[in-house]
């Protein structure tokens, strides 16, 4: 009964997505409908799984995730090794690996003694293998999902914030260095933080600045030598969409038009809209937020935010109420997973972040993704019901 109540909000969001997909193309609708049914079945199946006996075998989860990440590298074809074929279905193992990764983290950090610096470093080292494997697929978006989940989980389990800061700072200053406003903002925030520390730690401060400046300046090198042209293009066009009409910046521009022209109530009934005339790119995946926004307008999108907040709140309540550490951590990891897939997708739709191919939680078209989401939710519910 509780499980039914818990699935109501994610299902409600998913149905909005299904309706939207039906409006875009019935092919997407039919496929996604099948995946949703499968996902719901999985939700009620995984609720029954009792992980209690193996939950402390963090290596087990780690290795399963690792195998999943290695699979596409050996069996996939083409330059981008992201999918593998199973009986005619393309399947993205890195999505499923996220489940095992969160399981690994909750298992690992559930021992209080592992939340110290040495435990953190061990987890970081093990996670680094994951990051690297996804990065060479190459799938920057998924790699950053793992990093994000790791950062949030490490934070909530109580790893020293200063330690976290040291490690988070490198990627942050690299990304922020693309916009001098963000970069300067980061430096200012850091300076304020360093002043507010109880004890003025001189060497710590120096170290922090060294990281910020070296990574900020190293980025141009990475930019020119590591990133693929399509990735570079995405970032370029992110910075100035009107000038790069044929690129993904043009997509963002069209997405904004879809949102802007929709106004307060949306243009559900209009036939000459961005979606129908196919001006909105990838309306079923990257730009489903804009596509939905075109139909339901500002009012509808605010309601969508309310729904997402309710979903996140539900996960927070589980963190709060459950007594076992691993349940708390798993729930927090799931929370991080959803936050990531909501915030970064919407940010890219609004032109605040490059279009990186991050699906929107519960809404974007894609089988593996929706199955992963409902599996995560099901696992959280199951653990909570049993472990309470």
């Amino acid at each position: 009964m509780r499980a039914l109540k818990s699935i109501f909000i994610p299902l409600f969001i998913s149905i909005i997505g299904i309706i939207e997909l039906a409006r875009i193309n019935t092919v997407y609708f039919e496929k996604q409908m099948a995946f949703l049914v499968l996902a719901i079945l999985l939700y009620f199946t995984v609720i029954k799984i009792n992980l209690k006996r193996i939950i402390h075998q963090y290596l087990l989860f780690y290795i399963i995730g690792l195998i999943l990440l290695l699979l596409p590298l050996f069996s996939a074809h083409g330059a981008v090794k992201r999918w593998i074929n199973i009986g005619g279905f393309t399947f993205q193992p890195s999505e499923v690996a996220k489940i095992f990764y969160i399981l690994f983290l909750s298992s690992f950090f559930s021992k209080k003694e592992r939340t110290g610096v040495s435990g953190f470093l061990k987890a970081l080292f093990m996670s680094g293998v994951y990051f690297g494997l996804v990065f060479i697929e190459p799938d920057f978006a998924t790699a950053s999902t793992f990093m994000f989940i790791f950062a949030i989980v490490s934070f909530v389990v109580g790893v020293d914030f200063n330690v976290l800061l040291l490690f988070a700072l490198a990627p942050l200053s690299a990304i922020f260095s693309f916009s001098w406003v963000l970069y300067v903002g980061l430096i200012i925030l850091l300076t304020i933080y360093l002043f507010l520390l109880e004890k003025r730690r001189f060497f710590f401060a120096i170290f922090i600045y060294v990281i910020v400046f070296s990574f900020g300046l190293l980025t141009p090198y990475i930019w020119n030598n590591v990133l693929k042209p399509y990735q570079r293009q995405r970032v370029i066009s992110f910075l100035d969409p009107e000038k790069h009409r044929d690129t993904s910046g043009w997509q963002v521009y069209q997405g904004k038009i879809a949102l802007g022209a929709a106004g307060f109530f949306g243009r559900f009934g209009e036939s000459y809209n961005q979606k129908n005339l196919r001006f909105l790119p990838a309306p079923h995946t990257d730009f489903i937020f804009s596509s939905i926004g075109e139909d339901i307008g500002f009012l509808g999108l605010v309601l969508l935010f309310v729904l997402y907040t309710a979903l996140l709140w539900h996960l927070y309540e589980i963190v709060k109420k459950s007594r076992r550490m691993y349940i708390k951590i798993f729930s927090a990891g799931t929370l991080a997973f959803f936050i990531y897939h909501i915030i970064f997708n919407i940010a890219s739709n609004l032109g605040l972040f490059p279009v990186a191919g991050i699906p929107l939680a519960l809404l974007s078209y894609g089988g593996t993704h929706i199955i992963t989401e409902y599996t995560l939710l099901g696992l959280v519910e199951g653990m909570y019901e049993r472990g309470e």
Binding site: I152, L259, G260, A261, G263, N276, F279, G297
Partner: protein
């Protein structure tokens, strides 16, 4: 732990709130702007070209009009570079008159080419699926009456506007501009105002709906009536059949109307652009409108002006006779011949004009004096440039005393030069149109209306700076040229109507035969028409040019 999760959640909700603010900006504040952009996305404009105004001859015959032609337009941003290249190949286009990217920004249909033949069109239509965003339709296109193609040099032609012209004249891509002739001079009148049609298209260039809002109809350009007589032009063309090169002007000095402005060889306005290279390399220079751009030595026709100079300086009177002509004249240490080797004997001024006696005019020149001759010539205000309403009229040339000094050095300028000058040989150059106007001025004792093809609001009068009383002996001479017993053009004399004129044979360095010149006015006592004929390398004025003029006059007065 809950505290930190709560913090994460708090941050997330804050981000949601910031997203909402951003959405508020996009969806509420900037709603109108995005609404417009969305409309601009799908509503694309295709130009409906205005019909260019007709050009009529004096009798209302349409010599330039229009006919439908296929046009091919593309929607910018739909076709890839390679597809565009392929399309160019199919259309037979090697380049555009403009940079396509400049006009892509407006995102409306761009005219690639108009006037494509049916075979090419059907080839493209077969493969239309391959070229999304391409629209083929029929539009009015300039067409010149093939029957009156001898008028081409007067009409000019039209060509797709270049990028700079599009900007300067505020044209649309694919609009044409007039080049040469009437088309160029009256371009802004002939050009109408383009209309617009609207299409709803999707992002791939497929047309979803035509005319969701009613089209804006184009406005046709103004019809222009010219003074040219198209059938007369064709008649003149037939008279020039035996000759390779030449020009002919028929002009009404009383009104300024130019009835014929013929040049040979001439181009065809309909095929000009296709044949441009060939025309450019043609030895006979068909790109030269000889009637207004050909500079010819006037030959003996100039004797009329020499006589006027002598009369104005009172160096001669009508009855002045110099030493009789023996066929040659001794001056300095050299013998100057007359064209009639047997000599003309003793002549007065009108008879000297009648027979075009060189010896008489040598002495007339000497009587005036070289320097004075040139100064008076300069003061006459001879219209070497008429200002006719056609582009690139060439200025004739009349030398001045200073010009000789500059060219030869002060001590080499001798009286002897006046001998050549007085008979019209040497450096003097006139265009046929200018010769016609001068003839009109002489015929009317000093004035003629500035020639035109399209009647201007105000008529200008071109006046010779000489008293009208000096003209009588010259006119008498001109009368005798046709009607006198020994006149050089007596073969064309008519009973019913009196013609006057002057023949000329200009030596030219390029051919063995002289240019044959004749300029005439008719009727003698009330000049209505001036006819000036030049046939290059055709012989003496009386042999070729005068008979052509005679036939034109007979046609003008319907005499068989």
């Amino acid at each position: 732990m809950e505290r930190r999760v709560k913090l994460v959640l708090f941050f997330t909700v804050t981000v949601f709130f910031l997203f909402t603010l951003k959405l508020f900006k996009i969806q509420i504040v900037d709603h109108a702007k995005y609404r417009k952009l969305s409309r601009k996305n799908y509503l694309r404009v295709i130009k409906i070209p205005a019909i260019r105004g007709d050009i009529l001859d004096r009798n209302g015959i349409k010599i330039a009009s229009w006919r439908p032609a296929f046009r091919i337009s593309v929607l910018p941003g739909v076709l890839s570079r390679n597809k565009l290249k392929k399309l160019f190949l199919l259309v037979g286009l090697d380049s555009l008159a403009y940079n396509i990217d400049t006009f892509s920004l407006k995102r409306n249909y761009i005219t690639l080419k108009s006037g494509i033949d049916f075979r090419t069109i059907s080839k493209i239509e077969e493969n239309l699926d391959e070229f999304p965003g391409v629209v083929i339709d029929a539009v009015p296109s300039r067409y010149y009456n093939q029957k009156y193609i001898s008028l081409s040099e007067i009409l000019g032609y039209v060509q797709e506007a270049r990028e700079d012209e599009i900007e300067k004249l505020h044209l649309d891509v694919g609009d044409v501009v007039g080049r040469r002739g009437i088309e160029a001079v009256y371009d802004s009148l002939l050009r109408g105002k383009n209309g617009k049609r609207f299409f709803v298209v999707d992002s791939r260039g497929n047309i979803i709906q035509r005319d969701p809002t009613p089209p804006i109809p184009p406005k046709k350009g103004k019809t222009i009536r010219t003074s040219i007589d198209a059938n007369l032009m064709n008649f003149i063309d037939s008279l020039f059949a035996p000759y390779k090169k030449g020009a002919c002007v028929v002009y009404k000095p009383k009104t300024g109307k130019v009835l014929a402005l013929y040049t040979k060889p001439y181009f065809n306005s309909n095929t000009f652009l296709r044949e441009y290279k060939k025309l450019l390399n043609n030895q006979d220079k068909p790109l030269l409108n000889r009637a207004i751009q050909g500079a010819y030595p006037p030959g003996s026709i100039f004797k009329l002006i020499s006589a006027l100079i002598a009369l104005k300086t009172e160096s001669v009177t009508e009855n002045t006779t110099f030493s009789p002509c023996t066929g040659s004249f001794r001056y300095g240490n050299r013998t100057w011949g007359c064209w009639l080797e047997t000599g003309h004997g003793k002549l007065n001024l009108p008879h000297a004009i009648e027979q075009s006696c060189d010896v008489y005019f040598y002495q007339l020149g000497l009587a005036v004096g070289f320097k004075r001759f040139l100064n008076v010539l300069d003061s006459l205000n001879i219209p070497v440039y008429t200002g006719i309403d056609l582009p690139h009229e060439k200025r004739g040339f009349i030398p001045t005393y200073d010009w000789y000094v500059k060219r030869l050095g002060k001590y080499n300028v001798t009286e002897g030069y006046v001998l050549n000058l007085a008979i019209g040989q040497g450096e003097i150059l006139f265009t046929p149109i200018s010769l016609a106007v001068i003839t009109g001025q002489i015929a009317q004792k000093g004035w003629a209306i500035k020639p035109y093809i399209v009647k201007p609001r105000k008529l200008d009068t071109l006046i010779l700076n000489i008293d009208s009383r000096y003209f009588d002996p010259v006119l008498k001479g001109a009368y005798l040229v046709v009607n006198g017993e020994h006149g050089t053009a007596r073969s064309i004399a008519l009973d019913s109507i009196k013609i006057a004129g002057k023949t000329g044979s200009a030596e030219n360095p390029h051919g063995n035969k002289t240019h044959s010149l004749f300029t005439a006015f008719v009727p003698f006592d009330n000049p209505e028409y001036v006819i000036t004929v030049i046939a290059e390398n055709a012989g003496h004025g009386g042999e070729v040019a005068a008979p052509i003029a005679g036939k034109i006059i007979r046609r003008l007065y319907h005499i068989e």
